[in-house]
Subunit: 436 residues, 2 copies
């Protein structure tokens, strides 16, 4: 045992310690997520942080399911992996209970994940995610509910008007586009989808070059360009009228109409460049974008994936969901100044210093009685003069300090000092509720 | 990619899926833990689930820090481990910030841990733990606060009288015992401490045999037996009066006196067999025991450990703390029937079925308005007749169902049906708060 070595006090690269000041912010985000999910009747679940590695290898794609997977072998020789995402786990869980639970199943979870990837802004090795899904309904109303839920989660943070937008698309519309462009061969289609996914990050000549290299004829590239540069459904149909009866386009229009009913439509826009890389999406797809000039990025996304359950041999079931992360959400809130109030808020815990060693017994009793009356209270352990106690209380950011010395004890009272205003109020020792 | 294989829907052995019914119980436990910690002014922190493996190898002892450690190598060749306990991580964290934060530091966390051990009743591979510690105070009042906090955490679950007991001991009293027994050689002392730790699980002849084998003389064994079989401090001093001035015994007596002030003393008892195996304890130690005949076991324990910080090269700081686990707490609550009310509680989410396809638009609007008014509400996605809707609502355990069909719409009302009493009340569509 190398007990003589001195170890670093820093956390593992790509992970973070959360001191109370930071955890307060994360808990605020989590509580907003949880509150809105429960507002929609979603039920919270949790799966273990370990899964058999094979389920990620089979489903999570090359990066998440292979190189970024953290694997170890247990005492029984099994390969276990830390969960890098929730979809395979929740699909396993739903497969187990699907037959016996009333449908649809509305589930959410808030959990930590690990990816063995290079840390970068907005992406940590350990991160937390909300996962919301509806299983067992193909109704368009399920799509609309998921869109409203995603928007209400954003709105619950009280962001300013125009600070974010939900970009909406549909994989069936993309299929229609590929049909229209006469791209029939399935490997070519997959390649083209991947290039379309990168459209907004590419310059036009680079996009064209990539499409050509992939083997797309010029006519097809032209059609794809017309599609990708459309800024509205009207413009799209003006350019490519043959898509008019596409079922995906109808789903987009229906969703926007439905969102009008609840005044969510001003946050939603058709976006041809929202593709969502994963192969399993097969209907509506969406992404929420931060519109802040310093933080222009997709915050999170989601969509419909109706065919994952086969992996666990269960009855197939439809699914639609999305998953925002803690770090990108925090960056959004910071870019719009939405955490300022939380960061400067005073500590609502009251502070009861021990002002006199002889008062130790009485101070312990008062502390206990106040706690029993529901007051959150930090009690001093060692004697402190009032001045030092005030200094400590200010350093800790307390809103209130309780003054209880020999004099107060003799008079059967304690004082509550508001540390913001300096005002002191007296309370009888028989009256143990602290006023706001 | 082995996409054709069918995978098991079961979680990895020794881990559990928490469906909403189960997560509700865990969240109840966590919220009690969190609430009482905050009542005492403790602040919540969180560390990453990964640490450099070496810190556990150095500190966590043979089982937890070696065989049970789950280790893997990251892309940079570093050995990382899943945290099997919090003490090394929080010691690292405190070492990092000790110099700059006001003291004492009262910290707690609620986090998941992994040990690669054989699963057994009350011990899972993945488990959750509350960790509470006070850093930076050697005041006896810190010990008393930790004991009160541990007891109030138990009492917050409303257990019946006599359902648990806190056994109190002190490592300095054990040192006094070994001195009195004239066991001076340090390796022998460690061996004897380990045998004393097993005392309550051993028959007397086996205990004597183990002590003899370890090399303890008969006189020493006799003194240890007198100590271990004492059921009170009075009995102990009657048998071994030489321990009268022991500093550890004084700390035990002072703690019991202090706990009298807040009427916590009836839950506390001197227990000579509370040893706490870990080498780092050096003052008060305690364990809380379930007194239920079906579940007689230590629920959790803690104590004072004043010398761990050296590991991170920081200024040394005193510490005292404890750590209850989710699984043992749940077994305690179950053995005393304290979860029954929670398990049978109705779902407070309201259910608004879609009673008529033609009402879809109006139902979506009503759902949204009720949610905006603060009602947690599950809305039906597909049309259901009232009878089927009631069936579903009962299956889901809802307390309330909202009835809103064409008739109600025409009258400008909706009905709220209490599913327990069957009583229906009407509300105007302009009045959107659901009565309790």
């Amino acid at each position: 045992m190398k007990t003589d070595k001195i170890f670093s006090t820093q956390p593992v690269k790509g992970t973070s310690d959360w001191l109370p000041e930071e955890l307060k912010i994360r808990h605020y985000i989590f509580s907003v997520w949880r509150g809105i999910c429960e507002r929609y009747g979603f039920e919270e679940y949790l799966t273990p942080m370990l899964e058999n590695a094979e389920i990620y290898r089979a489903k999570s794609g090359e990066d998440v399911g292979q190189k970024e997977l953290m694997i170890f072998v247990d005492q029984g020789g099994r390969e276990l992996a830390l969960r890098p995402e929730m979809t395979p786990s929740v699909t396993r869980l739903i497969s187990k209970v699907y037959a016996t639970r009333p449908k649809p199943i509305r589930f959410f979870s808030i959990a930590n994940f690990i990816r063995n990837e290079k840390p970068q802004r907005g992406r940590n090795r350990e991160f937390w995610q909300l996962n919301c899904d509806i299983f067992g309904s193909t109704a368009p109303a399920a799509d609309w509910e998921i869109l409203r839920l995603a928007l209400d989660i954003m709105l619950a943070f009280n962001p300013p008007e125009g600070s974010f937008i939900l970009g909406l698309n549909d994989r069936r519309l993309l299929d229609g586009l590929l049909d229209l462009a006469d791209l029939k061969e399935s490997e070519l289609r997959i390649k083209v989808i991947r290039i379309l996914d990168k459209y907004s990050k590419l310059k036009k000549p680079d996009f064209i070059e990539m499409m050509q290299k992939a083997g797309a004829p010029d006519g097809a590239i032209d059609i794809c360009l017309k599609f990708m540069s459309s800024s509205s459904v009207v413009e799209l149909l003006d350019r490519l009228p043959a898509l008019k009866d596409n079922i995906g386009l109808k789903a987009i229009n229906d969703a926007i109409e439905a969102l009008k009913l609840t005044r969510h439509d001003s946050y939603v826009k058709f976006r041809p460049d929202v593709i969502r890389g994963f192969d399993y999406y097969d209907g509506l797809v969406f992404e929420i974008f931060d519109c802040h000039p310093d933080n222009q990025r997709a915050l999170f996304g989601g969509g419909r994936y109706n065919g994952l359950a086969g992996l666990f041999g269960a009855q197939s079931f439809p699914a639609i969901g999305f998953a925002p992360g803690d770090e990108t959400t925090k960056l959004f809130l910071e870019s719009w100044g939405l955490l300022d109030r939380l960061k400067t808020a005073l500590n609502e815990t009251a502070f009861l210093p021990l002002l006199d060693k002889d008062m130790e017994t009485q101070t312990q009793i008062l502390a206990h009685k106040l706690r029993q009356a529901g007051v959150n209270l930090e009690a001093g352990l060692e004697p402190l003069k009032v001045g030092k106690a005030l200094e400590y209380a200010n350093k800790r950011g307390f809103a209130k300090m309780i003054i209880f010395g020999a004099d107060e004890q003799a008079r059967g009272i304690y004082k509550v000092k508001n540390l913001l205003t300096g005002v002191e109020e007296e309370s009888s020792l028989n009256n143990l509720s602290l006023k706001k």
